[in-house]
Symmetry: C2
Subunit: 213 residues, 2 copies
């Protein structure tokens, strides 16, 4: 079924036809905005716009120059992918490595209560305690992104890259701006917008890019 | 933790503070646009905007007059909730009834291949064959929404209501417009936008509304 299928995640003939037509429309809408990105970066942004039907993501997505290379390297080595919430976890498919999420883990629930932090932030700490090494994908909670940055910068957490696209009017924009100021290879969406479909689109793009590589 | 907690799904003090602040911001952004809706409908739209950080949803969300009442009745009776994809399923929480999704069911995969339809559409047929009776929540696939409408109108599928918010540039707008022309109690988002967070926000709002009722 060719590259469009890998690119868009279609698994049947009808699904492929839809993905292919959608790709054409997405390209017609945002081609000009993404023309200075690398082909791999273009694919990521196209998939975000395909998944959200929101061309504004072509304006607000910001990718650090080393994000794609470092992420593909981690994907090839089958490093873990850590997500903040289960919705993001179940959306990522066709990965031969492990996808982890600790938000429902009893230690995260306990830690959140003890420390008066969100469960999503506590889940990042548990992942680090468990020796996490891989790509972090945050589609929901700004508190998880702030905590991941803290753990990488101050506690030696091994994040090969971070897809930081939490959503919301409280803290999301600030958490993403903080990520761009680190040396961690990253992708973000500026401002309050982001979310599960954006996070999933990025992760599945990276997995698809490895297959094309 | 009060109504804001039920409304936004927060489970810790910090989560509650964020939800509460977010609710204030959402209200300041869209209060005028939703002032003619019922309080229950306002809560649904507020939660969609909270989940997506996208105030445009206050303009494009359309709710049939019987949607809330019929949905709450079904929730109270612990009728099943049927989702098109697993991402939507795992996002719905605190429901004491069953949440079903057949997209990974082997019969749906087989049927999709045989009939050359999408797996999401095949999954709707399998649900009907299994005797589904409840609320249908579609956050991704226009083909699933078209098939659900067909099954309700022509095959006697029991949908108490449909939250039809598939996303994409191919078929999504048309499938949602088709839903509004039926007699099925429904909520849609006009145009290509919609998606998992919108679907999950609607379902969790309905579950929260029952608790407040």
């Amino acid at each position: 079924m060719g590259n469009d299928s890998i690119f868009m995640g279609a698994s049947t003939k009808q699904g492929y036809d839809i993905a292919s037509k959608s790709r054409e429309i997405v390209r017609s809408l945002i081609a000009d905005k993404i023309k200075d990105l690398s082909p791999a970066e273009q694919r990521i942004v196209e998939r975000i716009v395909h998944s959200t039907a929101d061309p504004e993501y072509a304006d607000i997505t910001e990718i650090s120059s080393n994000f794609v290379d470092e992420s593909i390297k981690a994907i090839k080595a089958r490093k873990d992918i850590l997500t903040d919430i289960n919705m993001v976890k179940v959306g990522i498919n066709k990965y031969e490595g492990e996808i982890k999420c600790y938000i429902s883990h009893e230690d995260a629930i306990k830690l959140a209560k003890e420390e008066q932090i969100t469960r999503a932030a506590a889940a990042m700490r548990i992942a680090h305690e468990e020796g996490f090494d891989g790509i972090i994908v945050i589609g929901n909670a700004p508190t998880a992104l702030f905590e991941a940055i803290n753990l990488v910068e101050n506690e030696g957490m091994k994040a090969r890259s971070i897809a930081g696209v939490p959503v919301g009017f409280v803290g999301a924009a600030e958490s993403k701006e903080a990520l761009t100021k680190t040396k961690i290879p990253n992708i973000i969406t500026q401002g309050p917008k982001g979310g599960t479909p954006v996070a999933v689109a990025i992760a599945n793009s990276l997995i698809g890019l490895e297959k094309l590589d």
